[in-house]
């Protein structure tokens, strides 16, 4: 159970400009702000900022975002529920996905 209390005032960090999610160009400051705005789960941060929702699907920034969230909430990273992994594992062209029917090539 998670009571969504206030985390206290936002304290700017000198490296808030650092880009954490490279695919969607989301900075550390944007992620920290979102957490202070009440987005207390990785799923919510993804939905709100698209961090980890770009071409690499969070393979690069997933751990970083998790660590940021754990730190702001004051919990261990292992206590943070992981975000859902979704298919496809690699980006796939629509023409390839569309082509899953058997056909007679003669």
């Amino acid at each position: 159970m998670l009571e969504r209390k206030d985390l206290g005032g936002y304290i700017a960090a000198p490296d808030d400009d650092l880009i954490v999610c490279r695919c969607e160009e989301i900075t550390k400051g944007e992620i920290r702000h979102a957490i202070h705005d009440g987005l207390f789960t990785l799923a919510e941060i993804r939905r709100f900022l698209r961090a980890g929702m770009g071409l690499c699907q969070g393979q690069t920034c997933g751990r970083l975002v998790k660590a940021l969230l754990a730190r702001e909430l004051g919990v261990a990273p292992a206590a943070v529920e992981p975000a859902t992994a979704r298919s496809p594992v690699r980006p796939v062209e629509m023409r390839v996905l569309a082509d899953n029917q058997e056909r007679d090539d003669g």
């Binding site: 159970m1 998670l2 009571e3 969504r4 705005d37 009440g38 987005l39 207390f40 789960t41 799923a43 919510e44 939905r47 709100f48 698209r50 929702m53 770009g54 071409l55 699907q57 529920e81 859902t84 979704r86 298919s87 496809p88 980006p91 796939v92 062209e93 629509m94 023409r95 996905l97 569309a98 082509d99 899953n100 029917q101």
Partner: protein, 375 residues
């Protein structure tokens, strides 16, 4: 006041619950929102295709859609302080056969009777609006005031603003039963405690039915599985919301981001596990095939993510937004049947009016809970 008491207790932290919480908090009510999942907006609200449509709607819910599109959506981003990626550049509902055009003409006639600006156009007129459409399109219905928005952002934007205004949100808290006191709905019993509300709003999607059963009420909801695909971001191509008479796909390109969001009915209900919705490779393939038949130009665009979502399909495919005679103090808002996102801000407003003014500003008699009985 005891610790877990508020003017209003809302069951369900989807966009309906979050929007109602926002308008109620703004209206001066104390609010508690209880959400079963750990993350807010894990149900249909964060899984939908983002259509903000009036066209194609049942006349019983069309006035709600029209009110939202006229009065709420255009300024919602400003009001909530979050760009919800709203884009009001029209809806094209596409047809490829004469039978399709008949379906579209029927829908269009009904909507025009309700005062909506929607009309039938030819294939070439449709291609003048959207030059990427293939020659297979014979005609379309065109509603210039429809559009789309980002449902993940909109849900969390309502949540964020409601919370800022003092609404209390508790997630990971499943409500098991509604309890009456002196004949009125008064308390909800949740996994971790009791919560007392002057009014209790049940906006729990499919979860609403078993909850309402605890006070002897029933709403005929059935689970239907839909699937969604998202592409990589592309250059801006077209701003319209798209649907088809064949219902073989729907979608749009996200405003100011560039990714396409496409949806399709799954059809895998008989084989799906209950609970957490899982996407199938079959539906994604079918969706891509269908989309490419209308938009061959998208063939090389990459799908980066897919998911599924259950909808709370009501027996007559329109929602229940209603007080009940048997249980005063209770408000039902469920059964949005796969098209609740577009009307969600207006529904949130109506729910707040039902609590604060004792009645909604629109006549919702056609959406009552007791309309399903044998006549």
């Amino acid at each position: 006041m005891v610790k877990n008491a508020a003017d209003v207790v809302i069951v369900g932290g989807g966009i309906m619950g979050c929007a109602a919480a926002y308008y109620l908090a703004k209206g001066g009510c104390s609010v508690i929102v209880l959400e079963k999942e750990n993350a807010v907006g894990s149900g249909g609200s964060a899984r939908n295709g983002g259509g903000v449509r009036q066209s194609g709607r049942d006349p019983r819910e069309l006035p709600i859609a029209m009110r939202g599109i006229k009065n709420i959506w255009p300024t919602l981003a400003e009001e909530l302080g979050v760009d919800v990626e709203y884009c009001q550049k029209g809806n094209l509902r596409l047809g490829k056969t004469a039978a399709h055009l008949d379906i579209l003409a029927g829908l269009t006639r009904k909507a025009v009777d309700c005062g909506l600006n929607v009309k039938m156009i030819s294939g070439d007129e449709a291609r003048a609006i959207n030059p990427y459409l293939s020659q297979a399109v014979l005609g379309a219905s065109w509603c210039p005031t429809d559009g789309h928005a980002n449902p993940l952002l909109a849900t969390l934007a309502f949540y964020r603003r409601a919370r800022q205004l003092g609404a209390r949100f508790i997630s990971g808290e499943t409500v098991r039963a509604i309890r009456k006191n002196k004949g009125r709905a008064r308390v909800v019993a949740a996994e971790n405690g009791l919560y007392e509300g002057g009014t209790i709003i049940v906006a729990a999607g499919l979860g609403s039915r078993p909850l309402l059963n605890t006070v002897g009420l029933d709403v005929p909801l059935q689970p239907v599985l839909l699937e969604t695909l998202v592409t990589e971001a592309a250059v801006e191509m077209f701003p319209q919301m798209l649907g088809t008479a064949a219902a073989d796909f729907y979608g749009h390109q996200s405003a100011r981001h560039g990714s396409f969001v496409f949806g399709i009915a799954s059809g895998y209900e008989p084989f799906a596990r209950a609970g957490f919705p899982v996407s199938s490779s079959g539906a994604a393939a079918a969706a891509c095939r269908n989309i490419l038949s209308y938009f061959p130009v998208l063939a090389d665009l990459k799908i980066i993510r897919s998911w599924a979502g259950w909808i709370d399909d009501c027996a007559d495919h329109v929602p229940v937004i209603s007080f009940t005679d048997e249980v005063p103090g209770l408000i039902i808002a469920c059964g949005f049947s796969g098209h609740g996102f577009g009307i969600s801000p207006a529904v949130g407003k109506l729910l707040s009016e039902m609590v604060i003014d004792g009645q909604p500003a629109l006549d919702l008699a056609a959406l009552r809970y007791d309309r399903f009985g044998i006549k």
